[in-house]
Amino acid sequence: MLVVNNLMVFFENALALNGLSLEVREGEIVGVIGSNSAGKTTLMNAVSGLIIDMRIKEIRRGGQRISIYGNIAYKGEDITGIPPELRVKNGIVLSRERHPVFPESSVLENFRIAGYLRTKKEVREVVDYVFSLFPPLVKLKKRKAGFLSGGEQQMLAIGMALVVRPKLLLLDEPLLGLSPMMQKAVVDAIVALNKESGITVLLSEQFARPVLPVVDRAYVVENGMLTLSGTGADLMNNPEIKSAYFGV
C-alpha cells in the first residue's frame, strides 16, 4: 500500500533520514521503533506531506533549507511531491505527535473540524465508533478539549484522524506521555480499529514494549537509518532490541 524508497531528508546540512526504505501492506499494523532524534517524526511528516509545507515556510522566512530525495509511493502512485491536503483526500491521515487538538473547542466540535471533508452523517457514524473505541470520551463530549488530560487528548487526536476516514493511518508517538494503563488502552484501540475497520496503520514509537506484541512488522530506525526489521515477534526476541529498548 505504501512504499518508501530510499528516502533522504536534510534539514540544512543535517541529515535527518538517510536512505530509509520501508513498506506497508494493506491491512497491516507496522511499527517504526526508534529512540529520540532517530527520524521518526521526519518520516511521518514526509509520508503525510507536512514536510512540503514546512519546507515552503522555511524558504519564506529564510530559515533552514529542507531537501527531500527518494520517493514515496502510495497504492502504486508516486506521491512524493503531492501536497498534504491531496494526500488526506486519498486516505493518508496523520495523527501528530503530542496530540495537538483545538483547545478552545469542545470534543464534538473538534471532531466536526477534523471531519470537514466528510458529510455530517459519515462524521456522526465515525464519532459513534470512536466513542465505542474510547469510552472515556463519551462523558467529555461537551468539555473544551484544552481541559482534557493528556491521555484523553491523545484519544481525541486519534479519533480526529479517524473521522477523516483514513485508509492509511499514521500515528506519530501515540503513547507519548501516557501512563502504562493509558498506553494499553490506546494500543488496544489501535488493534481494534485495525481489525474492525481494516484501516492500515503505520505507527512510530519509542516504547517498544507495548507496541511490538501487536504489530505485524516493525522497523527499527537509528540516526535516520534502518538498522533492523522483522515481524513483531522476531524483534521481541532479538537480544539487541531487548537490551536497547527493554532494558534487560
Binding site: 530510499n6 533522504m8 546540512n13 538517510n18 536512505g19 519564506r60 522566512r61 529564510g62 530525495y69 537509518m225
Partner: protein
C-alpha cells in the same frame, strides 16, 4: 548523481572567530566592517548632504529610534502599535518644560526622556498582563485618546499646540546629537539584548511560563523593557520638539506608530540593526516618492507589500547570512 545545495560558513568567518583574527588585517576588517559601517555613515553623511536632505536624515534617525524601541518591546513579547504614545509624551514633556519653565533644551531633553519613559510605563502598567493582540490594541488606542483629551481640555495649548520653543544652538549640533544618540542606542541596546539580561527579555517572548519557572518575575522585567522602549521613543519626541520649535497634536499621529513597525519588518526584526537599516531605507524612499503626488502612498504601499512577500525574513537577516555564509552544490551520497 543527485545534487543538493549546501550552506556553510565562510572560511574567514570561522577563522575570525578565535584568536587568529588578530593575525591579519583582512580578518580584523571582516569583524570590524559591519560595526564600523553604520558609525562612518552616520558621522560622515551629514557633511555631504544639502539642508533639505539633512532634515530627511534627522527624521530617518528619529524613525530609526522609534523602530528600535518597537523592536525591543517586540523582542520582550509586547507588540506595540503605538510608538506615537512614547513619541508624543516625550514631545509634550519637553515642550511643556521649555514653554512654562523656560528650561534649556539640554535639560528638557534628558528630563523628558526619563519622565516620558516613566509616564508611558505607568500608562501601560494596567495592561502589562495582557498578551498579544489585547496589548497591541491598548497601545493603539491610548495615543488616539490622548489627542482627544488635549483637544477637549485645551491643556498644553489645546489644538493650537505650544510654539516658540528654544531651538538647539546649531544645525550641526542637532544632527550629531540625534545621530550620536542613535548610534549609542543601537550599539548599547544590541549589547544589552545579548547579555544575560537581554536573554531573559527574549525568553519572556519565547515562553513566559518557563521564565516564571526559572524564578523570575516577568512583570518586573516587562516594566523595565517598557521603560527602556518608552524612554527611547520619548527622547526622539523631545528632540523633535526642539527641532520643530513646536509641539502639538500631530505628535500623536499614526505615522509615528506605523512607520517604525514597517521599518522594523522590512529591515528584519529581532536585531535592532535591522530596524535601523529599515528606517534608513524607508524614510528616504518616502521622501523620494514625493514627486509622485497622490500616488506616493500607493507606490510606497506596493513597495512594502512586495518586500514583505519576497523577503519576509527582512533585509538585515538576508545580508547577514550572505556575509557569513555561502552556498555550493554538493553531491548527495547514499549511506
Amino acid at each position: 548523481m543527485k545534487k543538493r545545495k549546501e550552506r556553510i560558513d565562510r572560511g574567514i568567518k570561522v577563522r575570525s572567530r578565535d584568536i587568529f583574527a588578530l593575525c591579519s588585517w583582512r580578518e580584523m576588517l571582516y569583524l570590524a566592517a559591519p560595526r564600523l559601517l553604520p558609525v562612518v555613515v552616520c558621522l560622515a553623511l551629514p557633511l555631504f548632504l544639502g539642508v533639505y536632505w539633512q532634515k530627511v536624515l534627522l527624521s530617518v534617525a528619529v524613525f530609526a529610534l522609534l523602530a528600535i524601541s518597537w523592536d525591543i518591546l517586540a523582542q520582550t513579547g509586547m507588540v506595540s502599535l503605538g510608538q506615537a504614545l512614547f513619541f508624543g509624551i516625550g514631545a509634550y514633556f519637553a515642550g511643556a518644560l521649555n514653554h512654562y519653565f523656560g528650561l534649556s533644551p539640554f535639560i528638557t531633553i534628558p528630563a523628558a526622556t526619563i519622565l516620558g519613559g516613566l509616564v508611558s510605563t505607568l500608562l501601560l502598567l494596567p495592561v502589562l498582563r495582557l498578551r498579544g493582540i489585547y496589548f497591541s490594541m491598548v497601545t493603539l488606542i491610548i495615543p488616539l485618546m490622548l489627542v482627544r483629551v488635549i483637544e477637549a481640555t485645551k491643556v498644553f495649548g489645546g489644538t493650537e499646540g505650544l510654539s516658540g520653543m528654544t531651538p538647539l544652538p546649531s544645525r550641526w549640533l542637532e544632527l550629531y546629537l540625534i545621530l550620536g544618540g542613535l548610534l549609542l542606542v543601537l550599539f548599547g541596546f544590541r549589547r544589552m539584548m545579548n547579555s544575560d539580561y537581554g536573554l531573559v527579555l527574549k525568553g519572556i517572548n519565547d515562553n513566559d511560563r518557563s521564565v516564571i519557572n526559572a524564578g523570575i518575575n516577568i512583570y518586573w522585567f516587562k516594566i523595565q523593557a517598557l521603560f527602556i522602549g518608552g524612554a527611547i521613543g520619548a527622547f526622539a519626541g523631545a528632540f523633535m520638539t526642539h527641532v520643530y520649535m513646536f509641539v502639538g497634536m500631530p505628535v500623536f499621529a499614526l505615522d509615528y506608530s506605523i512607520l517604525p513597525i514597517a521599518a522594523a519588518v522590512v529591515g528584519g526584526p529581532g536585531t535592532l540593526a535591522g530596524a535601523t537599516f529599515g528606517a534608513f531605507l524607508l524614510v528616504p524612499l518616502s521622501e523620494a516618492l514625493r514627486g509622485f503626488g497622490g500616488l506616493r502612498i500607493v507606490l510606497y504601499g506596493v513597495f512594502l507589500v512586495v518586500f514583505i512577500v519576497a523577503l519576509p525574513e527582512g533585509m538585515f537577516h538576508y545580508i547577514q547570512r550572505k556575509y557569513h555564509q555561502f552556498e555550493r552544490w554538493v553531491e548527495v551520497e547514499n549511506d
